[in-house]
């Protein structure tokens, strides 16, 4: 791909982000403009900011890649990512805002008046934040590799440095405007190329075999296999090979492979003829590569789908960078309106990645062989349109992708750094916040360089699972159940969230590889969320004496509209 346009586009996004962040609100006003200067953030602006912060690498690159590989089953991802806000709207948004809490640990303290539960919630914020940051950095690395051929780690390092620098320097002062700007940038970056791609597809005769099995090559194509794979052939295939297939080395020989499984070593170039079926590929693993949860999804599609639905539906409310944005709403009703607007905005956005996925299945099916399925969105403009137009659209997409990494990563870093500063490092002002920021970013950066890559949408799914099993019970029971006690909340978060975290850790390290156990660990939400709820309820019921004394007043504040509050407190 041509990087002449893409690199400036990425640089432009980075600079624009920093500038809007630093100067977005440096417009001074005189007192005559007082009402303009002190106007609260409206639901629409705040919704755009929340959406901007929320739409991450997983949404921008990951979904298209998964749809490309696995077909329409993966549409549950965008559905889940959106529907999470519906649950948030119904159960959490307004009471959470009325609680006055800024972060999730704040909420735990406001509801349960317990420092221990607060610290535990802080620990989970850090855990979820790190899990979510990891795929952002990996996505950045992938994008830069696809665009310029730079080494894997460079993109992640760039995002990490930019985000750490802006957050640590306090550059994200006007964060609402930055994030709202990022949303519209991301939407544009996907929408405009998508329109051109669909037009090109139309003029191509609108081929519709996107989800027919198997996909076929539309033209002769050379595929370089990035990691060793096993090709599963249902029927014989003729292919020109330079490299090693089934242990034998070839240089430009034409091979007739019979049906069955064939091992292709890394670095091999396969040239497929026009009309050849795209063979099914299986990562042959090895210690370096983490097996994708999606693969176990193939084995147990129903279980995996329900696990995904539960994790995304219930996990959204516990994402630390989303929760803090609700504080900007002036009151509970505004928080609710904001959530409705968010539903509309991200719903509109999520119409686009599946389009890329479907087009990718037609025009770039070989990505399933090279393993870079997350690159589908980046490669398509060049592949379908080509020329300067394709390059320009590709640059736009690349810019949007970087906007996705930057906005989500900066939001998460702020949330994690806030917790690290407040609850872990002894609080002594700004210098510690900087230390916290560096720590918040250093962990996932180290992990992204060291750990094998997981498809970004899957990695984000794991963060959702942990959030759904720890914070969802805390928020839902905390808001709707009087008899919740601090020991119950702590036990529920530890058992639910802790078990999900362990399952995630096992999945990321590649244990146990396959089978029922692997499916259970790769999609933990289906058992860990009920486990979290159950533990929280049972332990609370077992410790009735520990219900915090002010519970009735606290719940009244959560649920009564602000206008009535004065009469209650008087």
């Amino acid at each position: 791909m041509n990087s002449h346009y893409a690199v400036p586009a990425v640089a432009l996004v980075v600079i624009a982000t920093v500038l809007v962040g630093a100067f977005g609100l440096r417009i001074s006003r005189t007192t005559s403009d007082f009402y303009v200067a002190s106007r609260t953030v409206g639901p629409r602006l705040n919704a755009a900011a929340i959406s901007g912060e929320y739409l991450s690498a997983a949404s921008f690159l990951g979904i298209a890649g998964l749809v490309l590989v696995q077909g329409p089953d993966m549409l549950w991802y965008p559905v889940g990512y959106t529907a999470g806000y519906l649950v948030l709207l119904l159960f959490v948004a307004a009471p959470l805002r009325r609680s006055g809490a800024y972060t999730l640990p704040d909420f735990a303290e406001a509801r349960l008046a317990s420092q221990a539960v607060r610290r535990l919630a802080g620990a989970f914020v850090v855990g979820v934040g790190w899990l979510y940051l990891l795929p952002q950095l990996q996505g950045a690395g992938l994008t830069l590799t696809v665009l310029t051929g730079a080494p894997d780690w460079l993109g992640g390092v760039i995002v990490a440095v930019v985000v750490t620098a802006t957050v640590a320097a306090g550059g994200m002062r006007s964060i609402t405007f930055v994030q709202a700007f990022q949303y519209w940038l991301k939407l544009t970056a996907l929408l405009v190329p998508a329109l051109f791609l669909v037009l090109a597809w139309q003029s191509d005769g609108a081929p519709r075999h996107a989800f027919d099995e198997p996909a076929t090559f539309r033209e002769q194509r050379v595929v370089r296999v990035g990691d060793s794979i096993d090709l599963k052939l249902d029927r014989p295939l003729t292919v020109t090979v330079t490299g090693t297939v089934d242990g034998r080395t070839h240089t430009g020989t034409r091979l007739d492979l019979p049906a069955g499984t064939h091992r292709v070593e890394r670095g091999t170039r396969l040239t497929f003829a026009e009309g050849a079926a795209v063979p099914e590929a299986q990562r042959s693993g090895g210690g370096d590569l983490s097996p994708a949860p999606a693969e176990s999804g193939e084995e147990r599609p129903l279980y995996a789908t329900y696990g995904l639905i539960l994790a995304t539906f219930l996990g959204t409310m516990g994402l630390p960078h989303v929760v803090v944005r609700f504080y900007t709403s002036p009151h509970g009703v505004a928080a609710r309106r904001t959530t409705v607007a968010v539903l509309g905005l991200i719903g509109a956005f999520y119409l686009l990645p599946p389009v890329y996925g479907a087009l990718g299945r037609i025009y770039a099916p070989e990505l399933t062989l090279t393993g870079d399925t997350d690159a589908a969105v980046l490669l398509l403009p060049d592949r379908i349109i080509g020329g300067v137009g394709g390059d320009l659209l590709g640059a736009l997409v690349a810019g949007g992708a970087f906007a996705a990494f930057l906005s989500t990563a900066s939001g998460l870093t702020m949330a994690v750094a806030g917790v690290l500063t407040q609850d872990v490092l002894p609080a002594r002002g700004v210098r510690h916040f900087r230390l916290g920021t560096v720590l918040a970013m250093a962990m996932p950066l180290a992990a992204s360089v060291l750990v094998g890559s997981l498809p970004v949408a899957d990695a984000v799914g794991l963060a959702f699972a942990v959030s759904a099993s720890s914070f969802c019970p805390l928020l839902v029971l905390g808001i709707w159940w009087r008899r919740l006690t601090p020991p119950g909340a702590a036990a529920g978060m530890l058992v639910g969230g802790g078990s999900a975290l362990l399952a995630v850790a096992a999945t990321m390290t590649g244990y146990p590889g396959e089978g029922t156990l692997h499916a259970l660990l790769a999609w933990p939400a289906l058992w860990s969320v009920p486990l979290g709820f159950l533990t929280m309820i049972l332990v609370s019921l077992a410790t009735p004496g520990r219900v915090p004394p002010g519970t009735a007043a606290v719940l009244a504040r959560f649920h009564l509209p602000e206008e009535l509050r004065t009469e209650v407190s008087a």
Partner: protein, 401 residues
């Protein structure tokens, strides 16, 4: 394989961090091991048990606190059964022989009345009942009997009488401390109420004088100013709630500035720079307006030319940063320090030190005013307001848009 190891490290680290947290929370003083002689060792043990029993009692004598401390107290005395009562009922019975509850309560009437200790035999139909004798030690706070500590044993023991008396005295001291804690809380509440900012009488007088000056020349302007004055006084005289939102406070400041500008005209210019994210932050009622009033006073004091005031509110993570800056006469830092320490009373009311005190009361000592000033160099006041603080909730909602 390195990927696997690295992954493992990444996975284990959060768990480790969690462990450290929990460990720190539940950490007990380390056992003394071989330190000291057996006698010293026993002393340490006793002191440690006493220390563990103290915190629950510091919350006063209730069923819950009694339950938490009873086991520790019993191990301190080494008896078979220990019971804590208030003036009416048994709060907790730790150990054997709980069926003596009612009997104990009947026998307690005397000691609770007189406040003197007593020891008596218990009557029991059960042959193997381990509790035959009880010693009562009253718990007194300021000469008032709050309850009693009853230690039960199989037979009479002079040592136990003495020990129970000592432990009861120790518990009484803890209860006295609890009383002290309570009165301290009440004192702080009263102080906050007393500190509730009042608008200065000078301001009311000056405002009315200015409005009067416009009544004939520009009645419309006078009417507007009167309305501003009404809005401002309504805000500052309101009775409900100790906290407000930054948005409401800024509106009050706007009304205030309108009145001040009417008086000083072009001599005063104000710029605002406010991040909308921090407008919902809750803060003590009328704690920024005195700072602006102070800036106006210092800005216009002793000079005839113009004064400029800059009000900034920034979003800084979990805090909002409010800065009020003027380019006026400034102040000698030493004098300012003495004013804040209330060693000298300033001429113009109690504005700054009052705000400083209230901020420290509400948010803790590290959230007081930060003032940068020098004679002739203006003054810059910085306030850091946490976005969330337990117990700080604004009453009422923001002014609708």
């Amino acid at each position: 394989m390195s990927g696997f190891l690295a992954g493992l490290c990444v996975a284990v680290l959060p768990v480790l961090a969690l462990g450290v947290w929990l460990g720190r929370r539940t950490a007990r003083p380390q056992s003394l091991g071989g330190l000291g002689t057996p006698v010293e060792h026993a002393t340490f043990e006793t002191l440690h048990t006493a220390t563990l029993a103290a915190p629950p009692l510091r919350a006063g004598l209730t069923e819950e606190t009694a339950r938490k401390s009873a086991r520790k107290l019993r191990s301190l005395l080494g008896t078979d059964a220990l019971c804590l009562t208030d003036r009416k009922q048994v709060l907790v019975w730790d150990g054997d022989g709980a069926h003596h509850r009612t009997e104990i309560m009947e026998r307690l009437a005397g000691p609770l009345e007189t406040g003197r200790g007593e020891a008596f035999q218990l009557t029991c139909d059960l042959l193997d009942c381990p509790v035959r004798w009880a010693v009562v030690a009253p718990l007194t706070v300021d000469d008032r009997v709050h309850g009693a500590l009853v230690a039960c044993a199989p037979r009479e023991s002079a040592v136990l009488v003495r020990a129970a008396g000592e432990v009861a005295r120790w518990v009484s001291v803890q209860l006295e401390l609890a009383d002290l804690d309570q009165s301290r809380t009440r004192l702080i509440e009263a102080e906050i109420k007393a500190l509730r900012a009042q608008i200065s009488p000078h301001f009311i007088f000056n405002s009315l004088a200015v409005i009067a000056s416009f009544v004939r020349t520009d009645p419309e302007r006078a009417r507007e100013l009167l309305l501003e004055f009404a809005d401002f006084t309504r805000y500052s005289f309101r009775r409900h709630g100790d906290f407000t939102t930054l948005a409401d406070e800024l509106h009050a400041i706007d009304h205030y500035l309108a009145l001040v500008r009417a008086r000083f005209g072009d001599r005063l210019s104000v710029t605002l720079q406010i991040a909308p994210e921090v407008l919902p932050v809750a803060l003590p009622f009328l704690c920024l307006q005195p700072l602006v009033e102070n800036a106006v006073k210092h800005g216009l004091e002793g000079k005839a030319d113009k004064c400029h005031i800059q009000i900034t509110a920034q979003d800084a993570g979990a805090e909002a940063l409010v800065v009020i800056e003027d380019d006026g006469a400034g102040m000698d830092p030493g004098l300012l320090r003495r004013i804040l320490a209330r060693e000298v009373s300033p001429s113009g009311g109690i504005g700054l030190s009052n705000v400083d005190d209230r901020l420290r009361q509400v948010y803790g000592d590290d959230h007081g005013l930060v003032i940068e000033t020098a004679t002739g160099a203006g003054m810059k006041i910085t306030v850091r307001l946490p976005k969330y603080q337990p117990g700080v909730h604004s009453a009422g909602r923001l002014i609708p848009e």
